[in-house]
Every structure is written in C-alpha cells, then in structure tokens.
Amino acid sequence: MSKNLTARAVIIVAVILICVFGVIDFPTSLDGLKNNVQQNIRLGLDLKGGSYLVLEVQVQDAAKSDALQVIERIREDLRKQNITYASLEANDPQTVEQADNIQIDIKGVPSTEAAAVRSLVSDSYTDWMLTAVSSSDFALRMKPSSMAQLKRDTVERSIQTISNRINQLGVAEPSVQQYGSSSDRFEILVQLPGVDDPQHVKDMIGTAAVLEITSVKDGPYSSRDAALAQHGGILPVNTVLNKLLPRGGSEGEQWYLVSRLPVITGREMRNATAGQGELRRWETSFTLSPDGGKRFASFTEANIGNKLAVVLDKQIVSVATIESRIEDSGRITGLGSQQEAVDLSNFLRSGSLPAGVRYNQERSIGPSLGADSIHAGIMAGIAGLLAVISVMLVYYKRSGVNAVIALILNTVMLMAALAYFHAVLTLPGIAGVILTIGMAVDSNVLIFERIREELRSGKAVIAAVDAGFGKAWWTIVDTHVTTVVSCAFLFLFGEGPVRGFAVTLVIGLLANVFTAVFVSRAIFDWELGGRRQLQTLSI
C-alpha cells in the first residue's frame, strides 16, 4: 500500500513539474516569470487586441484571366492552321460560385474544320474540354480537376503575396493562412496581433480586382459619347472603353478605347517599386514573371511608339508610350510626382494578387480594449476562484484542502496543455475553462458527499473513503464522457470559436479525471495511511 502510494506520489510530482515547466519555463526573475507566462499562454486577438481579417479570394478572376490567355493562344493557333471563325470570346462569371461556369465560345467555324479544332484542343489545351454546340459553334469548358487545381493555386499564391506584404509591416507574429477546410471556400484568415490600424493594413494588402496591361487602340476622348461617336456608335471587336482615373489636376474626363485582351495580367506581375530616374524624375519600375516577360517582349517590340494602359478594376490608372522592347523588367517614366509613382507601384503590386479579394469579415480590437477585458476577466476569475476556495474550505474543512489542491492543479494542467499544444486562449476558450472548473468542483463535491453518506451509514473512515470514491467514480465517468462526446461533435461540425471551446473543455476534463480522482485519492490515502483505526475524518 505505501509502496503503491510512493509510485503515485512520483507520478503526481512529475506531472506537476512538467505542467509548471510548460507554463513558466525557468524564470530567473519576477519579470522573467511574467514574460514567460505571457509567451507560453498565447491569448487570442479578442483578448489582447489586434486585427482579424477574413478575405475571400475571387477565384473567378483567375479563371477569367486564364480563359483570356487561352483565347489569345487559340487565336494564334487557329491563324497558323488557317482556320477561320466568326468570334472567339469568354464569358464573365461574377461571383466565386460561378467560377466553374467559365466558358470560351468559338463560333462560326466552317464544318470542314471541326475535326481540326477538336484535335487542336485535345492536343494543346489539356485543361479544357471541347463540346460542340452546333455544327459550327463550340464551347470550351475547364475540366473539373484543372479548375480545382487553378483555385488551389490561386488561393496559395494569394496567401504568399499577402504574407509578403504583411511582412513589410513589421508586425510581430502575423499569421496568414487558409480559412476553413472545405474545398468550396476560398477564404484567407489574416491575424495581426497588436495592430490597431486595420485600414492601413487593408491598404497594404490591396483590394484590387483585376490588373491588366493592355494596348490602347484609340483616345483620349472627353466623354464616352464622344468616343462612341468617333466609331459610329459601335465599338470595334474586342475593345472596350475605359475611363482614366482622375488625378489631382483638372483635365476633365479622359476615355480610352483599349483592347479587351490584356497583354499582361496581374498574375504575371511580380513586383513594382517607385523611384527616381534620370533628372530625378519620378518613375515606377516593375518586374514580370518569365512567361509574361516573353510575351511582353514580343508585344513591345512590335508596338514601339504605341500606347499601353494600366487598367485596374476596369479603370485606367496610367497610360504610357512604349519606347523600347521590354522583357521581364520595365519602367514607367515621366510621372508627375512622388505620390503618383508610389500610387502606381501600389496599383501594380496589388495587381500581383492572382485574383481580387473581398473582405468578408474584419474584427479589430484596440489593444486598450483588449487590456481592459483581460484585466477585468482576470479580476473576476480570481474573485470567483477565491469564493469557491473559501466555501470549499469552510464546508469540507481538511478535505476541502484536497479539493482546492485538485482544483489548482487542474487549472495549471489545463494551462500547460494549452502551452504545449500552442493553442490560443480566446474568450470562448475561457468559457471552456470555466465549465472545466465547475465540473472539477462538482467531481470533488460528488466524492465528498458520497463519503459523508457512507460515514453516516456507519462505515469506518477508510471503508467510507473507499466506497465514496468507488461510487462517485461511475457518476464522474458518465458526466465526463457525455461532455466529451458533445465536444467531439462541436469540434467536428463547429467553427472557430465553438471549436476553441470544445478543445479547452476536453483538455480540462481529462485533467480533471486525473486531479479529482487520482490526485485527491492519493492525498486521502496519504493522510489515512498510518492510521488504520481512524474514527473521524475532517470532511
């Protein structure tokens, strides 16, 4: 019996040491202790303040720009094979859900060439499927597997781009990750502890829908009507009219007729920076992906002297003249001011997101509010705990000490588990902690009340303790397993906050079975150890 007790004592002390170490490490001073605790118990943004953004990647943008590039290639291939057609166009899905509907229509192909079109697509465009709409019209749709791959890539690249930009902010421990796990959601969760100026962050990330560099066919015109009038009311094939984003000066509206098929899209834009060039004039330099660079080189070579427009979200932000052949790095020179150069580089950079993003959620808790709520929460927690402890001590006397030790150990174990798992403590998590403490108190109360009952029925102390623990055990198992079962469901089907609650609660319940049953029992046995004939128990 006493040997058994030693073994139990060793286990308990070991667990306590491991847990205490998990929470406080090896502090060298009081400040060090405070620091270690703050580092190990990581608080959620709702408690310590910071910004929490959920962005939805507009994957349909990526699908669309993919389609436009495919159109460009098909056009080239059809020309090489001398296949004629009436029109070659892509549709324009507007929402994330419609991304799968992307479709390229080839119309008016002579029936003699149908087989050639068919084999062209199946040979060179393996991501797409060709279906015949009629004898002369075809529709190209993206294969589901390719579409899934495109979406995954788009989200991954967005995460990378956003991470890079956020890192420029110099925030401690930023986190950019995919939000949710299901394959039909394309959300990114950005968490920035301590950032109290989310609007600035959003400006950094950019909300660009689509960035395109496209050739200018004609312009400028002073109004849309003027432009239309110039072309007899009908725009040439594959062109659109876009307005130049007004700058400080009052030149009035400027409209340009630009190609609907971009030379370069945001997906190929790698970086852009503002700087001063010759004669200290402001300029913006940019770099393109290798693929984009090749295409841009052949285009600029053939179009020297022509104009290019930088179009962001269907608005022209800059028009520049091609002065020479440009490969994967180029400059837009002759900008009016530093601001203009910085803005343009921001536009170009934000365009390097592979698709636009929208903010589904923003949550910013000022650090002062966070500090206030932590303070209030801790004060209330301590007050509650003190009340519980004093009632336990008064009501159960010496045995109450057992309960208090078990209770405190339970809390320490819970905190240690959070530290070891790198879990984050949020407000719902605290709800889990509170329920854990409640159930820990309950386990002790259950056991003690049982022991009292057994004592009343005339059992000797040791037998009563034995029976008390034995009978309360199954009740504790039932209450705990029921709660763990419910936590499993909450974790499986719940989200974010609900999951945090479930995780904390399960850890707390496991700790509780250990403390309320194993530890408390060991203390009883230790107290009763040498005194088999004990007649009274302080309970």
């Binding site: 929208r358 589904n360 949550r363 927690g381 509650g384 009343r456 009740t475 419910s486």
Partner: protein, 410 residues
C-alpha cells in the same frame, strides 16, 4: 459543516407547479421574441459594420449622426454609451450590405470622424489613431532634423513604449502631449518633435467589426447545427448507459434551459453574439452534468430496490444528491456572479447567460428531466397492465403519453 443532512422533500409531488413556471417562462420568452420581431443578434450574426469610438469628453451625438448619414450609404445608427461608469463611448453601426459596400462604408466612418473632429493641421497626423509602424515612419525624419540621435532600434522601442504607456494609462486616448512625459525613454527634445509632427484628435477607435453577408449566415448555421449534433451525441450516449428515455429527458431538459435563456435575452433586450453562444454551450454542459448526477443515483437506487414506486425512488435520489446539487450550483453560481459584476462589458453577455443558465439548468434536472422519465415509465407500466387484459396496444403518439400519467399521479 453540513447544510442538508437527510432531507426528504417531495420534489416530484410539486412538479406541476414548476412545469407550469417553465411553461410560463417559455411563453414569456417567445412572446417577447415575437413582440420584438425576432432575436437581437450581435454583429457577428447579423452582419454589417460596427465601430466603437471613445471620446475624450461627452460626444456631440447630433453632429456625429448628421455627418455619418451624409457620407454613408444605407441606414446608420449612432448610439451613446456615456453612463456613470462607462466612458464616453459611441457605437456607429451600419446595416448589412454586400462586401464591397461594407468596405466603402467602413472606410467612410474613419474618414468622417477624421474630417469632423480633426483640426485642419497642415501635414500633421493624428497620434490617437495610428499604428506603431506608422508612428515610427512619421517620426524618423523630423527627429533627424531636430538632431535627436536615435537609431532605428531605439526608435522602435520608444514607439512601442509610448503605445503601451498610452494604452495602459489612458485607454489609448490622450488629450495633451504632456501626458507622454512619463513614457520611459522620453526626452523633452523628442516630445517637442512629437508635438510638431502630430496632433491629437479628441477620439480613438476602440474596435471595429465588419461582417459580410456570407459570414453571419454561415456562422449561425454552423453554431446551431453543431449544437444539435452535440445534443444528439449526448442523447445516444445516455441512452446507451441508461435507458433511451433518460437520454430524451436529459436532452429535452437542456433544450428547455437553452430556450428559456434565449427568451431571457430577448426579454432583457440583450444581444446574442458568438460569445453568448459559447456561454450557451457552457450551460448545456452544466445542466447535462447536473441531470446525469441525479440519473446516476436513480439508476443505482433502482438496482437496490426494484419494488419501490419510481416516483418515490426518484424523490429519494433527488434528496440524496440535493446537498451536492446545491453545493456545485452554488459555487459555479458564485463564479458566474463574480464574472457578471467584475468581468467588464466584453464578458457581460457571456456572464449573464451563465447566471441565467445555472439557475435554470439546476432546476430543470429536477423538474423537467426527471418528470419526463417518470411520465414515460408510468405510461408504459399502465399500458402493460392494460395490455394484459385487452389487445396488444398500438403505438401511441407522445401526446397520449403526456396525458395518461396526470391521472396516475392524482
């Protein structure tokens, strides 16, 4: 010390009184929900944009309201929280719109506040509403111009110290630059530079929440679904450990608690937010725990004395566990009350739900869960007696099950 030695209250004899009270509470809750046109959801479920702004002095509500409604598309609400204890807080909220419009409105809130409350200070920036990295950027050049020698590391540290000093001593809002003189590492020269570079707007944005239409609906659906699944899981486990009717009783009791608490939220015009959902989950846990403890005792007693009428046996079990019920509920209630009093505004809804939930949850174990089991057993007992004499009884609908024991009790 013992409060309840061997009590022998006839709890189940008074069940109709308490069931009546439950029904009244439920009706009152539903009536309130209907009268108020649905529950009051927090921003995380409802969607929209909500900004909490703290002002240095009593905020000019009309000015804010008119400025906001000019610039913001859709309905804008501007509410004041100035009270005895609370600071001069104002909440500015917009209705739910699509993500783009929400983003525009949210930016407009910032802009309106800036243009309404900031003096036209040429080139100066508001110190009360910018982040750390921007303060560093703004200060770097002026400090160099004023010949204050600080390397980048030192500047970063100074700004970090400044921010945390303002946050912990002045809740993030200062009204006079001299308040910064206590910042560790602050010198008169730096303070002067700060004075020249920044101005102090009489407000600071404490929190912003923007929730788009996709999020709220999804969150609500998931919270409700996962809770229902969790209840189902508990029902199955209890049914497996006891009898299925015990599972039904326990789950119905917990359901009853949740409904009453939600009703109370409506009656007291409190918002249901994600934090409140966490509290509701907590009370589901408490109430379930409480019910199982009683059922456990009933099961144990059933093994010992099979002949005793169930109602008496249940009463005895409830009395035997009464002491623990009162202790546990009392102690957890103490914690919840402490949280309600000192927990601050962020925890208010949470602790309110806990306080209601612990009371209702404790009482439902005795007066809802147990009677359900009792009714069912009385009903099946009666039926098996009748079935002996007449034909095998057809499966009756639950309404029938509820009526027959009424007679049996009387």
């Amino acid at each position: 010390m013992e409060l309840f030695k061997q009590t022998n209250y006839d709890f189940l004899g008074k069940k109709w009184l308490f069931i009546g009270a439950s029904v009244l509470l439920l009706i009152a809750g539903f009536a309130s929900i209907i009268a108020k046109g649905g529950l009051l959801y927090g921003i995380d479920f409802r969607g929209g944009a909500l900004m909490t702004v703290e002002f240095a002095s009593a905020p000019p509500m009309d000015k804010i309201r008119s400025a906001m409604s000019q610039k913001i598309k859709g309905e804008v609400s501007v509410q004041n929280f100035t009270g005895a204890n609370s600071k001069n807080d104002v909440q500015i909220g917009t209705e739910l719109q699509d993500e783009r419009q929400l983003a525009v409105n949210r930016a407009a809130m910032d802009e309106v506040l800036r243009s309404t409350f900031s003096p036209a200070a040429a080139g100066k920036v508001d110190l009360n509403n910018i982040g750390r990295d921007q303060i560093v950027q703004q200060l770097r050049e002026p400090l160099a111009r004023n010949n204050v020698a600080l390397n980048d590391q030192q500047l970063q540290e100074l700004v970090a110290a400044l921010k945390s000093y303002v946050n912990s001593n002045y809740s993030g809002l200062i009204t006079d630059f001299n308040q910064l003189s206590g910042v560790p590492g602050m010198t008169p020269a730096i303070l002067n530079t700060i004075r020249d570079t920044f101005y102090l707007a009489p407000y600071t944005v404490k929190s912003v929440e923007v929730v788009g239409p996709k999020v709220g609906a999804e969150l609500q659906r998931k919270a409700v679904l996962s809770t229902l699944y969790a209840l189902g899981g508990m029902l199955i486990y209890i049914a497996f450990r006891f009898e299925w009717i015990y599972g039904v009783g326990a789950v119905l009791a917990v359901f009853h608690d949740t409904l009453i608490t939600v009703g109370l939220f409506s009656i007291f015009s409190k918002e249901i937010s994600m934090t409140v959902i966490a509290a509701l989950l907590t009370l589901v846990g408490y109430s379930m725990n409480d019910t199982i403890v009683i059922f456990d005792r009933v099961r144990e007693n059933l093994k010992l004395s099979r002949r005793e009428p169930l109602e008496e046996l249940m009463n005895r079990s409830i009395n035997q566990t009464l002491s623990r019920t009162i202790m546990t509920s009392g102690l957890t209630f103490l914690t919840a009350i402490a949280l309600l009093i000192w927990g601050g505004p962020v925890l208010h809804g949470f602790s309110f739900a806990l306080v209601c939930g612990i009371i209702v949850g404790t009482y439902s174990s005795v007066f809802v869960a147990s009677p359900i089991v009792l009714f069912w057993h009385n009903y099946t007992d009666k039926r098996s007696k009748v079935a002996g004499a007449v034909q095998p009884a057809p499966v009756t609908r639950p309404e029938g099950a509820r009526k027959s024991p009424t007679r049996a009790v009387k």
